[in-house]
Amino acid sequence: MLRKEQGDLLTQTGPDTPMGRMFRRYWIPALLAEELPENDCPPVRVKLLSERLVAFRDTNGRLGLVDEFCAHRGVSLWFARNEECGLRCPYHGWKYDVTGQCIDVPSEPEASGFAQKVKLRSYSLIERGGVLWAYMGPPDAQPPLPEWEFATVPKPQTFTSKRLQESNWLQAMEGGIDSSHVSFLHRGDLNSDPLFKGAKGNQYNLNDARPVFEVVECPGGLHIGARRNAENGHYYWRITQWVMPSFTMIAPRGNHSVHGHFWIPIDDENCWAWSFDYHPIRELSDAERAAMRDGKGIHVKLEPGSFRPMANRDNDYLIDRAAQKAGKTFSGVEGIGMQDASLQESMGPIVDRTKENLVSTDNGIIMARHRLLRAVKALEDKGTPPPGADPVHQKVRSAAIVLPPDVPFTEGARDAMVVRPAVAPASV
């Protein structure tokens, strides 16, 4: 349970809110690089943290992320012409460069200097690992560039997708650290999904539906260990990483790729669910990429030309009650991503946390909220930079590992929980 004011504080991320100010201290994924595929390509509308923006790649390849609306009469610059190092509004020809600086007002004499007095709000946008990352905070507080492993391995080793989720970011993110739901909601997929099946760890999962949890604070967020029984009195540990504010990384299975998410607020009632898959030491196969594009694993099938899932609330998520009854899927919704999204969206745009009844196994969620509230307060009261923006906090790995019963996972998996170049992930 959260008090209403705590829930409001965590779920509201507009520019004049405490949580919004905290989100603005991070590099956050804004677009897939392929959305701006070439210089002078069409601009793209971007809504992030309740701000409407437009992104473009100019003639020289420079990236811009600026206020969506022309300073003259408020026309959307999505209609602009992207040409000769700037976006030109088609209404009266006002033109802006990647910094938002107006560089041409055709109706005014060039010598008047009027254009120099007009500047749209703009934010830093950089490309890394096939993702365009935005920094929307104070320029003097900009952290080092993002160092997440999935974004720094060679391109053939990584795949990223995004989908629209029609709910607040927090209830989506909390699903990512709610390890106990996997044994129910996703149980039908472990042995059938091409990106999961075949791993020995799946049998540990399916044989023991009552895992025991350990939640451990770490500098950037949390390690969430789920312990199940293995052979000879040993334990099978699945260790999820949560890095503040909204990065989650799921324990791998066998030699499959490692995957995880970012949950990024669009506004207070919608978010982007970013999903990545990568392997630290090998290229992804054509079959793996095809499966990811086809919505397998944690990815979803999308409506053509959009980032909205094919199964969405307008078609009742294509729920198949026969498949549910037959045990093919637990909820009747196909695919891990949409199984999560359908239930999280059903809570309403912003779930009322004053009515929830958490239990002890929800400690991952409880502690994540605790840390977010603490970090927001430290930023607001003392200007303390929030955890997770430091690249050291980002160089983490999830892990699946079998350990003797007397070895804490924080010891037994210490090396496995950090990025080690050219070393395979710990996986079972």
């Binding site: 349970m1 307008d314 059903s346 002890s360 605790h370």
Partner: protein, 168 residues
């Protein structure tokens, strides 16, 4: 026409959610298992809780293999002896709090009693920030077999937030 899911997940429809209480209060019992945790639990008890009971087993000493700690080691914070079985009988959740160093000698007794009555158990380690790995390991070895959830928080004030979240 809008699908039922689209209509029902709108903010407008949230107005029609049933407003009646959807749960009864749960009884949470917090037991300090050693001297380090007793200070934390005493401070916590002073915060005023509606559905929580605070006990201590800090005086428990290790016994032999058949009896890891004596039965009479449990007491309330006014130092009145409390019967373990009674304490477990009235609890929905038992939180065992312990500091680093492996002094939680009463944890197995609590764990066994909770296991028999199917009472949920949580192990909470305080003083983590200043503890060595070896000290933590000793405590974890005592709590882990008897805890369905183990929490290692850097700040001891987390336990209060956890109890609020659990509606204590």
């Amino acid at each position: 026409m809008q699908s039922e899911s689209a209509r029902m997940s709108s903010a407008a429809e949230a107005r029609f959610r049933v407003q009646a209480p959807n749960s009864r209060p749960r009884a949470i019992t917090v037991v300090a298992c050693d001297a380090v945790s007793e200070a934390v639990v005493r401070k916590l008890a002073g915060e005023g809780w509606a559905h929580a009971t605070f006990l201590t087993a800090a005086s428990a000493r290790p016994g032999d293999d058949r009896s890891p700690a004596p039965d009479d080691a449990l007491a309330d914070l006014a130092d009145h002896a409390r019967n373990l079985d009674d304490a477990v009988e009235t609890a929905d959740l038992m939180i065992m709090v312990a500091g680093p160093g492996g002094m939680a000698h009463f944890a197995p007794r609590i764990g066994e009693a909770c296991g028999l009555r199917r009472v949920m158990t949580t192990g909470f380690v305080v003083g983590v920030a200043a503890a060595s790995d070896a000290e933590l390991s000793r405590t974890l070895a005592q709590l882990r077999p008897w805890s369905l959830m183990v929490v290692l928080a850097n700040n001891d004030d987390y336990i209060g937030d956890m109890m609020t979240a659990l509606r204590a």
